[in-house]
């Protein structure tokens, strides 16, 4: 006990060291000092914790409850229906299944392309180019705009811009009605998100690449390694931690895509590009089936949480190893 309180004092908490001193003098259950400290603690932590509880915790937990009800959001009646919503989602809701598969497919494609292109861009701008700084800015710029504006920009590109390029060049790829067909509309969303995400990922890879000691690379070059071997056996292993970070960043953001999905295709044509987040939104606020929407949201949460927990475990493990 004694040694523990000493440690606390060394750790430097003013409050704790003062209360422990006080304790030795008098023994009332709640001393004045303790009360004052509790008051200070509440004053400092209280406001944001209150907002957090009201905005995040309470809705999150009531949401779990609503997932097991037939709440429609309009009438006051909320009936407990047990696992009915989940059974419906599992066995009947074809659109949910389609959205789920589509989102998974999209996530995989977006992760691979965003990271590959982001890494490529980082390699490019860390060469000794004269235009490196400008290019960095250019590649990063799409990232500033939110998904909503990006989707609208590309809506114009796909509808009018591509048609015009197709007319001028005669390349059939540009003559397609990109947003009018399920397959190309899917790739349209991929293009928009890669255009947005690659620059962001590039910034992180640049930071990692700049930490690779130049001497190592030069030594390997002198020993006769070619550029590819240097990249494969020296640079890549050294930036591996950044790769982990970027992979998870893109996984989480791709899986949760909403804004660009809404503004570019709004799920169309015929709901063929409706990703999970948009599907949940439609279920709740368009179909007014809040209970089922919540059940979907709960499943959505469990997947996102699983990804995040995996990320934390992997990066912790790496920290221990290194």
């Amino acid at each position: 006990m004694n040694s523990q309180s000493n440690v606390k004092e060394v750790d430097g908490s003013v409050i704790v060291s003062e209360t422990t001193k006080h304790k030795t003098e008098s023994k009332p259950f709640l001393s004045k000092k303790k009360l004052k400290n509790a008051g200070l603690f509440t004053l400092f932590v209280g406001p944001v914790f209150l907002a957090f509880t009201l905005i995040v915790l309470i809705p999150f937990f009531t949401g779990i409850y609503y997932a097991f009800t037939d709440w429609n959001g309009v009438t006051g009646s909320v009936q407990w229906v047990g696992l009915d919503n989940f059974k419906y989602l599992l066995f009947e809701d074809k659109q949910f299944h389609a959205s789920f598969i589509l989102t998974t497919k999209y996530t995989v494609v977006a992760i691979v392309l965003t990271n590959a292109i982001g890494f490529g861009l980082a390699l490019l701008v860390t060469q000794m180019l004269k235009t490196s700084n400008i290019l960095r800015t250019v590649f990063f710029m799409p990232n500033l705009l939110g998904g909503l504006l990006l989707g609208f920009i590309w809506q114009f590109i796909f509808v009018k811009g591509f048609a015009s390029i197709g007319e001028l060049t005669g390349i059939p790829l540009f003559e397609l009605a990109w947003l009018g067909d399920a397959k190309t509309a899917f790739w349209g969303i991929v293009i928009v998100s890669v255009w947005q995400g690659a620059g962001y990922i590039m910034i992180i890879y640049i930071a990692a690449l700049q930490n690779v000691p130049q001497e190592l690379i030069e030594a390997a070059r002198i020993d006769g390694a070619n550029r590819w071997q240097v990249l494969r056996h020296i640079t890549m292993p050294l930036v591996a931690p950044a790769v982990t970070i970027c992979l998870f960043l893109t996984t989480a953001s791709s899986f949760k895509i909403f804004d660009a999905n809404l503004s570019l295709t709004n799920g169309g044509p015929f709901k063929s590009t409706e990703m999970l987040a948009l599907n949940i939104y439609t279920e709740a606020f368009v179909n007014n089936r809040y209970g089922i929407g919540e059940a979907k949201a709960l499943i959505f949460f469990l997947i996102v949480a699983a990804i995040s927990v995996l990320q934390v475990t992997i990066s912790k493990k790496r920290e221990v190893e290194s």
Binding site: K160, G161, F301
Partner: protein, 275 residues
């Protein structure tokens, strides 16, 4: 590093510039067409405008109610940043300096909640918010941003404050300074670098956010830039002349922000992502 600028570097440079131009093509299309009359957009999409005319902008500016919408976005982003910085820095400071179990529990709950996706909260949130009178009000929205932003903001402050030696504060307390005074006069000024990072990350997020304000602000008078753009596009589908001008009006504030804060933004993103 001392590499020579070789022929190979030159080829790489040409390639990189070409790629940069590809990245800029969408901006070129949007900006150049926003300056054309409607008929010219349809017939001559790829060419530069024959005459630069700003008529579209005048109309879009008015129809968007741009000044009002811009002011709304600004008020919401600035006030959310202020409350986030004030309350989260205070909380993080107290949580670091109070070595008790409850500090850990509270801190972990903030961090754990960061993984909850917005879609899992939004449905009951809108209902609870209605009960507390937070709907259809900018202040309600600001309180929501305080709630949603608290996790990451406290997390970043917490990590930074852990690295600040406590001796400074002890000396001030001996000199008779209150805890409140210690925090605001001594600790808070030391937090400036991380505060800049936090403000940039939160500003980009809040300014661009669409879903939350679309659920909270129903009154057209209260719309933010993304909201107004969304409704404008819905209303003027296929009227590309006005829609594109509106889009550019939405992009301009972000570009100004970016070019005035470029260094901080890049730094903020690098340090914010490697949490």
């Amino acid at each position: 590093m001392g590499h020579k600028y070789t022929g190979r570097t030159f080829i790489v440079e040409i390639l990189a510039i070409a790629l940069g131009l590809v990245f800029l093509v969408p901006f070129y299309y949007v900006v150049s067409n926003s300056l054309k009359p409607f008929a010219e957009i349809l017939t001559n999409t790829s060419a530069l405008p024959k005459v630069f005319q700003f008529e579209n902008y005048v109309q879009a500016f008015e129809k968007l109610d741009y000044l009002n919408v811009f002011t709304n976005s600004l008020i919401i982003t600035v006030s959310s940043n202020i409350v986030l910085v004030i309350f989260c820095s205070m909380a993080a400071y107290m949580l670091v300096r109070t070595k008790k179990k409850i500090s850990n529990v509270i801190f972990m709950s903030f961090v754990a909640a960061m993984i909850i996706p917005f879609q899992s909260i939004m449905i009951p949130l809108i209902k609870t918010a209605g009960n507390f009178g937070l709907l259809n009000s900018m202040w309600g929205l600001v309180i929501m941003y305080l709630g949603f932003g608290s996790g990451m903001t406290i997390f970043l402050y917490h990590g930074f404050i852990k690295g600040i030696p406590v001796e400074l504060e002890e000396a001030a307390i001996i000199d008779g300074c209150s805890r409140f005074g210690v925090f605001w006069r001594i600790v808070f000024p030391l937090l400036k670098p991380i505060t800049v990072t936090i403000v940039i990350l939160n500003s980009l997020w809040i300014w661009n956010d669409f879903l939350l304000p679309s659920l909270v602000l129903q009154d057209p008078e209260l719309r933010t830039i993304p909201l107004a753009t969304f409704f404008f596009f819905g209303q003027y589908t296929k009227q590309w002349d006005l829609a594109l001008a509106a889009l550019v009006l939405g992009i301009i504030p972000l570009l100004i922000f970016f070019f005035s804060m470029q260094k901080h933004i890049i730094k903020g993103i690098t340090s914010g992502s490697i949490k």
